[in-house]
């Protein structure tokens, strides 16, 4: 993820229900919310913020398909063409016996492919000193970040809107 820079207003909320209900009202007043940071997932939050639905499922499916194809190709090629052997009088390509490994490879590719897609798309990488708006976002507070550059409203105006909509604190953060 691109490094943050500039001036931000940081609204601190005490209660997950308050912030969830505040978001539509704040957006209605014309304030553009950059992002909300919470200690646990709140259902409906991404929808309230207008984030598009994640497409990671499509990636997962494609990785699964790759795993499935790789396993089948390897087994059919080795057992059927590269070095065929008669085992228990069965066909060289005895498909039912290939099902377990095909399944395992599908799961393996999907899980790791999806996990790394998740890490990359969210910019998650070993970084001991990430840029955070408020450290309490991983403890008990719900943090709303507003990029002043991207908002037409004045700083005072935004502070008033946040305050009116249940923010406990409004801080200024500069990177």
């Amino acid at each position: 993820m691109a490094a943050l820079s500039g001036k931000f207003l940081v609204g601190v909320y005490d209660d997950d229900e308050v912030i969830l209900h505040a978001i539509p009202k704040i957006r209605k007043e014309g304030v553009k919310i950059k992002e909300v940071y919470t200690p646990f997932p709140i259902h409906g939050l991404d929808h309230a913020l207008g984030h598009p639905r994640t497409k990671i499922g499509i990636a997962a499916f494609l990785f699964g398909l790759t795993g499935c194809a790789c396993a089948l190709t390897l087994m059919i090629w080795t057992m059927g063409y590269d070095w065929p052997m008669i085992i228990g009088g069965k066909d060289f390509v005895s498909f039912p016996a290939f099902i377990p490994i095909t399944f395992e490879a599908t799961v393996l590719f999907t899980a790791f492919g999806m996990a790394f897609t998740f890490f990359i798309s969210n910019g998650l990488k070993p970084d001991p000193y990430p840029q955070l708006f408020d450290k309490r976002a991983t403890d008990n507070k719900f943090i709303m970040a507003i990029d002043l550059k991207k908002n037409k409203l004045s700083e005072e105006e935004i502070i008033r809107v946040l305050r009116d909509n249940g923010a406990e604190e409004v801080n200024l953060k500069q990177f």
């Binding site: 646990f40 991404d46 991983t138």
Partner: protein, 467 residues
């Protein structure tokens, strides 16, 4: 907001705020190791050291140091392997299957149960390496063309399926456990006061910020991983059971093995979760998170799976008679009344009778009794594997080959090794990582707390505006 029926038991007692949860879990990670922990860790290391000595000698001298003979070629090694893999099923069951079933009570036990799964699978894998005798050639089990031409592994063999199943299960479980832990590692990072923990927890939390977008994807990833892990966990023990079921040994060659092994795995896994959680709960004072109701729910699963296992034993017996195959019925009559009758009846008593005691509400809500039964169940499940493996082998087709198995100190020592390894890893986990999934417990706090505090967002602080 979600509404929870009043008949559901509260998952968190004691009127906690979000900050309380962070504090209750994190202070164990942040404080210096206690004396009890150091003693327990010291004992584990000693056990591990003795086990390592036995294992080193096993590898140096060869598998001849074990009590195996020409009739019984598999004994404690595979018994221990199946036992550990079975134990390793509960963690993923709790975190994956119970997630799909929306069982919220899993939130406070899933982290430790998954850790247990991973360590148990490591122990199981160590027996695979051990019974190979020449562990430096373990890569022969992988599909690599060998030096003499392109002879490949036999993909029709359940032993090769097992290589794929166990390694996939281990790596996917590890991934699931790690992804679930990232938010909690970030919590520890943001509370860290010294540079070392700031650096390490910071690095492993991958710069987690808790943004709404990340959480949405995180939940989606968790859901798909759970969906994948559910058939995976069932496939692993199915494939383990096929190591036996696809052979033509009477007593092994039965189609009931896959479901029966899976039920047995969940049964023993939950028993081990109970053992570990009952101790962790007292030592870490987690009674508000792991309540008697949690213990009771797990006991119900133990009774259910124990009953499935019991029915499987009886069905197997019935089919051995009804099938009319002489060898098959002899194998089963020999199990029950042959020279290994004591192992068979130990298995029957521990696995079939003991979990039925949990029909009594008073007993299944008793911590001491639960702990006792969990130990009994684990002993019983070890005997189950011993009975299946050794009693099926020890009467060969040729009566002149009939033998008994007696373990040597290296059979026992290698088993001790796995205990040393398991408890060393679990103690390290319980000290340096959060034992309860804080983010998930916070997520269910509002709907499932016994009594909500006045301000759920924590200690009220002075309002301040810095402009």
């Amino acid at each position: 907001m979600q509404v929870t029926s009043p008949v559901r038991f509260p998952l968190v007692t004691g009127s906690k705020t979000y900050a309380d949860i962070t504090e209750d879990i994190c202070h164990h990670v942040e404080s210096k190791p206690s004396r009890e922990w150091k003693i327990a860790f010291g004992i584990s290391l000693l056990v591990l050291a003795y086990g390592t000595y036995c294992l080193a000698w096993t590898w140096w001298e060869g598998l001849g140091v074990w009590g195996l003979n020409k009739t019984i070629g598999w004994a404690w090694d595979i018994t221990n392997f199946v036992w550990w893999v079975g134990i390793g099923h509960a963690g993923t069951l709790i975190s994956a299957i119970l997630l799909l079933f929306r069982q919220k009570w899993r939130t406070s036990i899933n982290r430790a149960a998954e850790a247990m799964t991973i360590f148990a699978v490591i122990c199981a894998a160590s027996f695979i390496l051990m019974h190979m005798g020449r562990p430096w050639l373990a890569y022969w089990a992988l599909p690599l063309p060998n030096a003499f031409g392109s002879l490949w592994v036999n993909f029709n063999s359940p032993l090769v399926w097992d290589v794929f199943a166990i390694s996939t299960y281990f790596s996917v479980s590890l991934l699931f456990w790690y992804i679930g832990m990232i938010p909690d590692l970030a919590t520890i990072r943001d509370r860290a006061t010294n540079k070392v923990s700031r650096f390490f927890y910071g690095a492993f939390s991958l710069g987690w910020s808790g943004s709404a977008k990340t959480w949405a994807r995180y939940e989606y990833v968790s859901l798909i991983l759970a969906g994948l892990s559910t058939p995976l966990v069932l496939s692993v023990h199915t494939i383990v059971s096929m190591d036996f079921a696809t052979s033509v040994i009477p007593g092994w060659h039965t189609t009931i093995f896959p479901p029966y092994f899976v039920a047995g795995a969940i049964f023993s896994g939950f028993a081990m979760v109970q053992n570990l959680m009952l101790i962790t709960r007292v030592v870490y004072k987690l009674e508000d998170y792991i309540t008697i109701d949690h213990i009771e729910t797990m006991n119900k699963i133990i009774t259910l799976t124990g009953s499935i296992v019991g029915i499987a034993y009886i069905t197997e017996f019935f089919i051995a008679w009804y099938g009319g195959v002489e060898y098959e019925s002899y194998a089963f009559i020999n199990r029950m009344g042959g020279p290994y009758w004591w192992a068979y009846w130990a298995m029957m008593t521990c696995n079939v009778i003991s979990p039925q005691l949990f029909w009594s509400r008073r007993l299944r809500r008793s911590v001491t009794f639960t702990f006792f039964i969990s130990v009994v169940v684990n002993i019983g499940m070890w005997f189950e594997r011993f009975v299946i493996i050794v009693t099926s082998l020890h009467r060969d087709y040729l009566p002149s080959s009939w033998t008994m198995f007696s373990p040597t100190m290296y059979d026992i020592g290698d088993y001790i090794f796995s205990f040393g390894l398991f408890f060393t890893l679990f103690l390290l986990f319980s000290k340096y990582l959060p034992v309860v999934n804080m983010a998930e417990v916070k997520g269910v706090l509002r709907s499932s707390s016994e009594k909500l505090p006045e301000k759920i967002g924590g200690v009220a602080k002075e309002r301040q505006t810095v402009v």
